[in-house]
Symmetry: C2
Subunit: 527 residues, 2 copies
Amino acid sequence: MTDVWERSWWGWGRADRALSDEECTALGAQLPGLPDAPLPVPRVAGLDLPAPRVAPPPALAHAVTDAPPDRAGHTYGKAYRDVVRALHGDLAAAPDLVAYPRAEQEIADLLDWAGEHRVAVVPYGAGSSVVGGTEYRPGDGDHAGVLSLDLSALGRVLEIDRASRAARVQAGVYGPALEEQLRPAGLTLRHFPQSFEFSTLGGWLATRAGGHYATLHTRIDDFVESLRVLTPVGVNESWRLPGSGAGPSPDRLFLGSEGTLGVITEAWMRLQARPVHKASTAVRFAGFATACEAVRAVAQSGLHPANCRLLDPGEAALSGAGKGEESVLVLGVESAHHPVDGRLAELVALARDHGGAPAADEVRAEDDAVGSWRRAFLRMPYLRDALARMSALTETFETACTWDRAAGLYEAVRTEVGAAVEKVTGAPGMVNCRFTHVYPDGPAMYFTVIAAGRRGSEVAMWDEVKTASLEVLARHRATVTHHHAVGRDHRPAYDRQRPDPFALALRAAKSALDPQGVLNPGVLLGD
Amino acid sequence: MTDVWERSWWGWGRADRALSDEECTALGAQLPGLPDAPLPVPRVAGLDLPAPRVAPPPALAHAVTDAPPDRAGHTYGKAYRDVVRALHGDLAAAPDLVAYPRAEQEIADLLDWAGEHRVAVVPYGAGSSVVGGTEYRPGDGDHAGVLSLDLSALGRVLEIDRASRAARVQAGVYGPALEEQLRPAGLTLRHFPQSFEFSTLGGWLATRAGGHYATLHTRIDDFVESLRVLTPVGVNESWRLPGSGAGPSPDRLFLGSEGTLGVITEAWMRLQARPVHKASTAVRFAGFATACEAVRAVAQSGLHPANCRLLDPGEAALSGAGKGEESVLVLGVESAHHPVDGRLAELVALARDHGGAPAADEVRAEDDAVGSWRRAFLRMPYLRDALARMSALTETFETACTWDRAAGLYEAVRTEVGAAVEKVTGAPGMVNCRFTHVYPDGPAMYFTVIAAGRRGSEVAMWDEVKTASLEVLARHRATVTHHHAVGRDHRPAYDRQRPDPFALALRAAKSALDPQGVLNPGVLLGD
């Protein structure tokens, strides 16, 4: 990264982009029933951190710190419940130590040391987990201490193979720094999760992050050519292959392993030429059910739009794309090689055939609209933090299910999560939905919950709403997560979703790779 | 299947489609140095089968047989070395028993019985393995006996979800029977491996079979919505999901597990509307290296042709598509939804830009050409059997690597495998190559070896050529298999390719799911 900025220790992203007290107050005024003023942001220096229980080995001391700002900044991810706990000055969960290894050998040495001393190791990319993925909790084992293993010093693109369009990349690289290093070669990973600026390649891989494409290759998984993973029993490096049918995929075991099986240190990633042809437009629908059918037709057409984002009426209103009565479908096509206007026209025709009203004047190369949407998208977490400071209750969760169950799930989530919100806050809240990715066999739905909360009860309220959402998803056999990962917060529903024999197999694999049980205990599997 | 035919016990497919003695002799005459007459096909009744060492449990006796024709037909897969051993009357490897369960509970009961009595269980679809996937060998363990578990009685489509375009299908269904059951719904799996007529859904899934599409979704893997797998410790059933990011994919552990972790009994498979728009053409290239560059451009264009098959000069001549001096690229596009001529024109333009000479008069809706190519493709294994009867040496093997290594690998295989052929047969043979599937980061190459062999030494010659091919692939870090699977024949190279920690994890998973070690021992993992 070329510019210098301070990372927020308590909230999202850059400290200098957080909303001011006045902006928080103004935002809170839009939601009746909130306090008059925001929670103050505590200064780390004034907070109680538990004394570190372990000391780093002298030979690795240069790479490890117990300084309070580092420990505070590595205590939580960025879920709502993380932010409000930090705002309330609760740092009881702080790791004892934070390591910033600069070489793979240091990671191996740290793993050896941790295994010997039963110190839990929490691999840490940029800490944007919203599922408790980086927070060691009391029930996670009887470890002597906790080390947060921050990979961000390993941020280089090591090698580019232009012929195969692939690059060997260190796992600690942040999104912008990765793209910056690829740009001179005219290549891009084109993986833009909402967390793009504050997440790392290793984090994307370990959590199967959702990226730019609404169809086809929706998660990072498909862009992996090979992985290099440090496990406590040795280096796991798969061969660079465009496709292999030799046994179960080794890479697919580590994709989604969330730091429990090893530390991903490098990956060969498939890249693309930078797209030069782009077109997008919006199509409006009077009813959400009609819009769903249109999106289904698009998803099953084989036209593979890069963007296919359906906003329900509430979500359209929230994002300024609608007036709260109609659903809005945003379609986008792009290519590095060939014009895409014809493809967009085919998509629009399909949507019109299914009851949509295309906005004819919006059909254009849409750099501006996409850019402003993207800026708003990237701004959203800062607004969430501001709402948290006003003690509003906010939550986002996402899922996926097949088309035959989609309408039922949508209604059930709105009803049941809406009821949970009303129960814990005493008033109705907002439960909106958008489709972030779509597949021929079903959509990925992303729900946003916003309601007036009660100061001091934020975590309890959130937990109750979260429990309701996990319950309705599991009952409908919709996945607990399409791309946010499992972490610790999703464990109850994941335990229901994961087939029992697979749990045995995964536990056995974990024991084989991490015999001392030090890697991110409590995530995916119980103690 | 509607028509009735007898399955060949020694060779490929239908007994009535094998070449006659006269046809074999005529074919052999084209290859100097072969015997004058084909090996006779022995009658099963005249062959020595070892006495069965185990008897089925009385409660399951109705589903199990030790009849010699069943045991003979389940002794081998369909590799060259399998066919010649059968022709020589060698049935020492025959399973003791063959089971034809008609219900999942019978499979569970058989697994229980096998675990109790240490009987090896070899899950069997239609037996088209060319890698020793279904043949228990002496080194595979100290089991009390071997049961071949033939799933072919479980061949029904149980449920179709038209909205999500998916079907719940029993694993024992053969390709044609599957498509026949899907046709009334206007849907298709569109998975057409060369073995289509004589392989099953379960076999495709267990071996990560390669299918119809040359780009994008090249293997069966991506069409899996959920799996139901019977393991010795219980039923593993994943939820039907279009996409999930919840932990490592459970399905991906069983895809490619080749019967070692459980018996796949059902799957929800993603289907497609039957394509109505099709267009294809051929483009000729003076040099193979130039053709490779053109194919790379096509693979990286995002145009996703359904067919993108590059034949090197020898392969083009063998298949009648060329005269032995030029390389031929066959391009095809198809869609159920929109015309594809424009897409084909874009592809052809790309190939022309890279030095190709399109055959303008061949641009057409190509049902005839595709049909006749497909018939020839399906006929190929019968010709291979005829060559085996003439004691010619034949072998096909396939791999994949990234583009930066493709040209080097191609040359190395032709040189080194060619040298091995010459060494064992005393004369040069044919080593041809085609690309069967292509990816943005590299091609999947399929090699065909044909040479005059010596009667009685067929297996020894084949083993030596196989060893040479495995060696050159491994040294170039090209996968041991893109879609033929590992089985027992590919174990030496697979053991080099598979990362060591992953081997530990897989072994641990195997022990957890199959604690008695009865499931297809010797495949993927050692005893």
